[in-house]
Amino acid sequence: MGSWQAQMGRITLFPLLGQVRFPLSALDLYKAVTGKDPDNFQNQQPPLNPFPNSVAQGNMQGLAFSCQVQPVRVDLTFSPGPTPTPFSNGLPAISDSRLLRAALASSIPSIEKAVRGAKLSRLAIYLQIGREVATSTEGNQFIRETLPPTYSVPLQDEEDFVLQLNRPSAAANDSSMRLNYITKWSVDRLQVLTFLAAQNSPIAGQFTAGAPVISNKLAATIALDNSSPAQNSQIDDNQIGTLLSLTFNHFNKQLKECNVSLEGFEDASV
């Protein structure tokens, strides 16, 4: 059922708590990164989220791009662009991973500039790749092929496999800072819910057209979750771009260790 494909890339900023509110709305951040207005902006609290939350969404470099500002984290997420038909059968995937690589790389300097003075305590960058499988046995086989020999697991037909490794190392620019380099392998069961909104829905996201179409999927997934450590002090504004670049560049090494070739990420560096 296909090959490994990029599914999502994300940059996350963690503000210090107890000081000032994160100064940018999702709209501000979206504009700072893309240089244009979003297609959708929602500043009200969503029905299922108990806490303040603003979301701006649109397209950037052929990908869906969303900024979400919440009290404890700010997520900038690149995901597959709109599908030709809303009920397409496949698992959502970014068909050209070079676009994702370019979008993440080009966002870093924009983010660094936009969040100056925002008092951040932690930064993270995340890349998820996956491939749809028919059975857990097939998913386990793909996972086995990507596990470094040191961590080989004799998987067969087990379900819900998860293996997560952190191989932290000192930051190149600051030997006292230990950066987290996490790789997580899993075989995930998913439900894909497809909604259609009423034509006259006054607010984006207010779905009124009845029950969603549900399909069940099984996917082998590898997630690379790199971050600076949770610390008590503010990250120097001049370090934000450097830390994001260091953690971004490490994707290349992690993918090589998994024996996965992802176009654009072979020699990623910013």
């Binding site: 708590l17 969404q57 997560q164 191989r167 497809t194 984006a204 979750d225 008590n232």
Partner: protein, 181 residues
């Protein structure tokens, strides 16, 4: 042989008991959680696994009550004993959002005068209290026999970040251990 669930976690940096475990260092709420769109006619992907630490098991309804209680406290009239100051409200919302983000069960909420809010968990034996002030945060554990430990989770500059997140990332049981060790 029947299929069984497998969960393995390895942290190559472990060996020091003070080190965080791998789970505490990870940052995503869940795989696939970011793949959503508020636009018309697009796909939503929701995690659906037998694991219980993923999106979808978070006690949203209970946290909506927490958020509403905090709002009511802020909006109370000045002579109401439940009223809290705006700075206390803002920090309480941040702390509650962090607890929600870590999938920690929703606490009971009490005011303690206008300058603090108390979050409380009671398992029948232990009582755990998080006291949120204008810019500071304390945790305390007690049993019927008395106070078992207390700790401030704010750093000298009144920042609430690393210490707090390290304390709550293992969950309530981990926080209890952290306070009482």
């Amino acid at each position: 042989m029947p299929a069984f669930n497998t969960l393995v976690r390895i942290d190559t940096a472990s060996g020091n008991s003070a080190e965080l475990d791998t789970a505490a260092n990870s940052t995503p709420k869940s795989s696939y959680a970011g793949m959503f769109d508020i636009a018309v006619g697009t796909q939503y992907v929701i995690y659906n696994s037998s694991r219980t630490d993923q999106l979808g098991t978070q006690p949203r309804g209970a946290y909506q009550e927490v958020a509403q209680t905090l709002t009511d406290m802020r909006d109370s009239t000045s002579d109401d004993e439940q009223r809290i100051e705006t700075d206390v409200y803002n920090l309480s919302v941040d702390v509650a959002a962090a607890l929600f983000d870590e999938n920690i069960p929703a606490p009971s909420v009490f005011s303690h005068g206008p300058k603090s809010v108390v979050f409380n968990w009671d398992d029948g034996v232990h009582n755990l209290y998080l006291t949120v002030g204008r810019a500071r945060l304390w945790a305390m554990a007690s049993t019927a026999a008395g106070i078992k430990g207390q700790i401030e989770l704010t750093n000298p500059a009144n920042h609430i970040a690393g210490n707090f997140f390290k304390a709550i990332s293992p969950g309530i049981a981990g926080l209890l251990t952290h306070i009482t060790k």
